[in-house]
Amino acid sequence: MKRFHLPILIVLLSAIGLGVFAYKVSALGMPLQPDATAETWLVEARVRYQPTGGATTVELRIPNRLPNFSILDEGYVSRGYGLNTLSQADDRVAQWTTRQPRGEQVLYYRATLYRDGDDRSEAEYPGPVAAPEWTEPFHSAAEALIDDVRERSSNIQSFASVLVNDLANAPPASNAAVFIESDDNRTRRTETLIELLATARIPARQVTALRLVDGRRDVEPQTWLEVHNTRRWVPIDPETGTVEYPDDVVVWSHGSAPLLEVSNGENAEVRFAVSRGVQDALATIQRFGETLDTRILDFSTLDLPLGTQNTYRVLLMVPLGAMIIVFLRNVIGIQTFGTFMPVLIALSFRETQLLTGIILFTLIVSLGLVVRFYLEHLRLLLVPRLAAVVSVVIMLMLAISVLSHHLGFERALALSLFPMVILAMTIERMSVVWEEHGPADAITQGVGSLVVAAAAYGLMANRQLEHLLFVFPELLLVLLAITLLLGRYTGYRLTELFRFGRIQDAMRRTD
């Protein structure tokens, strides 16, 4: 069991990390790219009416839960009105009330919609409906039409489609033609279809939908037919018989009740305007997550205050840097001063950029070493000497900053973010190695530290990786798993292949 402990742990950690990551990417659609954008639609309903005196109530039907869109944001513009939203079956009703409106009144409702895939969720079957009472000749025509359609269909959905097509392409004097009226339009047709379907005991309902066309100021609401196939409501275009909504159609309200009702008002009308917006995908997903009933986004890094977020953006890169250090030390075999000093140096390189950072680091460490060798002559005790080196390092940093500011070299000002205590310790360690093992060793290790810091910086400054780790912090579990795996690596280091390669001539042949 002990032998499998670590492998199981590694598999478990990576499985959890990758699982949550995959869920967030595929189910929530969280963006993998830092600059990803998401398409949103702003739909504006504009209500206009002339008051006829007295207290007025305006009722506008607005969507509640949409099958293929989610409402990221909504707002009402209605000065001087009391606002109330009521839930009604599948929709909501926005109820504006006022006591004494004067002149033409305009009210707005705005919603930001985000397309989040098709919702095929099931709905309770309302049961077979009662057949309407037809008068002749409609009764026999309806019976004949329904029998005929039933012959040519296999289930409720195809029955409805065939029926829609029959009505759409009805030859004159056929059974279907009886039901086509002179003032035919989508709404009239839908009503007829619902009655005919009811004759076949099939529950159906009317739906008001909007077609999303960018920049349209006057979008005409469309009527759609929805048929219940005993499992869910299936949308059907009442003119063409096409099943399911196209991507650019959004359901606004259900039922045949009018969209707008105004008491004590006349010339009431509602107009819809649509415009397309492009938003930062991350913010969109975050708002979308709030509309969903998922716990995962409640614990997201994106909910933190902005300042804290920025801190964690940097901090979450540290495990990555640490893993690089493990790799470079235990698999490649580069020697560095201090185990994690290069990670801290790499963090400060984020501010100074690589080249400037390396120049400044080399400059400060070299000057610090000179001062340190001078301090050696003063024969100080260890801690006071370290304190003196820290002070000198800070003075050097200040001097370099002032100088570079005068020279107009502003980037060097980020120098103040260098971890000065770490620098001081590096200088101290380097001088001890210099004295005990010679300059060659000290410089090798110093350059090694810089190379490792540069490599760590290369990864830690990568925006893509930063985005991934910040938006999907569960990937840290995968990093942890890789680090644990590296912790069990007992093979040769790359530098050892070279070190022992050089002495192959001296190897005694055992055979």
Partner: protein
């Protein structure tokens, strides 16, 4: 192929040669056999010395211990009485850092190994540095030890430049598995550090003769300064040294241990210090990997009850002897 080009070798070849890499050493030997709680026995040289004395193992004599800055002044008056010289070393020093060897006196000034005369105040500073933790890991306050200067057996004078040749034996679970002698050169500034240009030569565990070694990763059969051969030198008191090394297992409880020994002209092999993380250069000096020998020890231990240090030393001398050296012993 130009000499400066990196010459890489396939990992499989190294494995066949039994070369132990850093990661394998850390995981398989140090982490597996060196218990954390026994580290102070090895890292604190004062404690090592005490344990060795209790166990009756030969070590350089301890003159005194300086624990506080106040004691520096007291010890200063005492130092000139050690006319044969003395050594000041930190109890927690690593890799030979902070060891100051005084060979004798020139008037009232101490004379360093290598001949340079110093001021007495420099000794004070050195002790002060040791106390403040300059040479200890993590900079923790330390104590300074003053001990007898080993009077080296003169037989290695022709093959060492100024400094002290020392003999490093790697002891695996009580069994000596490999040994090397480190000879200081002019390049290494009298230090026995292979990395700085000292010569490392492997030693045949059976006979205690050197077998020639490497310098700067190249095969080497002569000392670079004196041009004397470093092959076939007999180390005096070899059996004693092997027993001493094996005995260090009991006192340190370390399963993977480096034992550094110097040869005193009068007293023979003396334990200088122990190392819980002996490096891998010994493989280079011997031109052989440690792995096969360690496997042999493990196979031997399976069948064996606990053996005494003397038995272990004898077994190792027998099993790890090099045939070519034994043959040469016959006249």
């Amino acid at each position: 192929m130009p000499a400066w080009l990196p010459r890489f070798v396939r990992p499989r070849l190294l494995k066949e040669q039994g070369i132990v890499g850093m990661n394998a050493r850390n995981a398989r030997y140090i982490a597996a056999w060196n218990a954390r709680r026994f580290y102070p026995r090895v890292d604190d040289k004062l404690q090592t010395k005490q344990l060795a004395l209790d166990a009756g193992l030969a070590v350089p004599e301890l003159h005194g211990v300086v624990r506080t800055h106040r004691q520096i002044r007291d010890v200063r008056t005492q130092l000139p009485t050690y006319t044969d010289g003395f050594v000041i070393k930190p109890a927690h020093g690593a890799a030979g850092d902070g060891i100051l060897v005084i060979e004798g006196w020139r008037g009232d000034r101490p004379r360093r190994a290598g001949g340079r005369a110093m001021e007495l105040s420099e000794l004070d500073d050195h002790m002060s540095n040791i106390l403040s933790g300059m040479y200890s890991l993590g900079g923790r306050p330390d104590v300074a030890m003053i001990e007898q200067r080993v009077r080296f057996s003169s037989i290695f004078d022709s093959v060492s430049y100024r400094g002290v040749p020392d003999i490093r034996t790697v002891v695996y679970r009580g069994y000596p598995v490999m040994a090397m002698m480190r000879l200081p050169t002019q390049d290494s500034d009298g230090k026995a550090n292979l990395h700085q240009g000292a010569v490392g030569t492997g030693i045949d565990l059976g006979s205690g003769r050197t077998i020639g070694g490497v310098r700067y990763n190249k095969p080497c059969r002569e000392h670079p300064d004196s041009e004397q051969s470093i092959v076939g030198l007999q180390i005096p008191g070899w059996e004693q040294l092997m027993e001493l090394a094996a005995g260090c297992y009991e006192l340190s409880r370390m399963g993977y241990l480096g034992v550094d020994v110097v040869i005193d002209a009068d007293r023979g092999p003396l334990i200088l210090e122990l190392n819980a993380r002996p490096g891998l250069a010994i493989q280079i000096a011997n031109g052989e990997g440690l792995d096969h020998r360690i496997t042999a020890v493990e196979a031997h231990m399976v069948a064996r009850e606990t053996e005494t240090p003397a038995e272990r030393a004898r077994w190792a001398a027998e099993v790890f002897a090099r045939p070519e050296n034994t043959q040469r012993d016959e006249p």
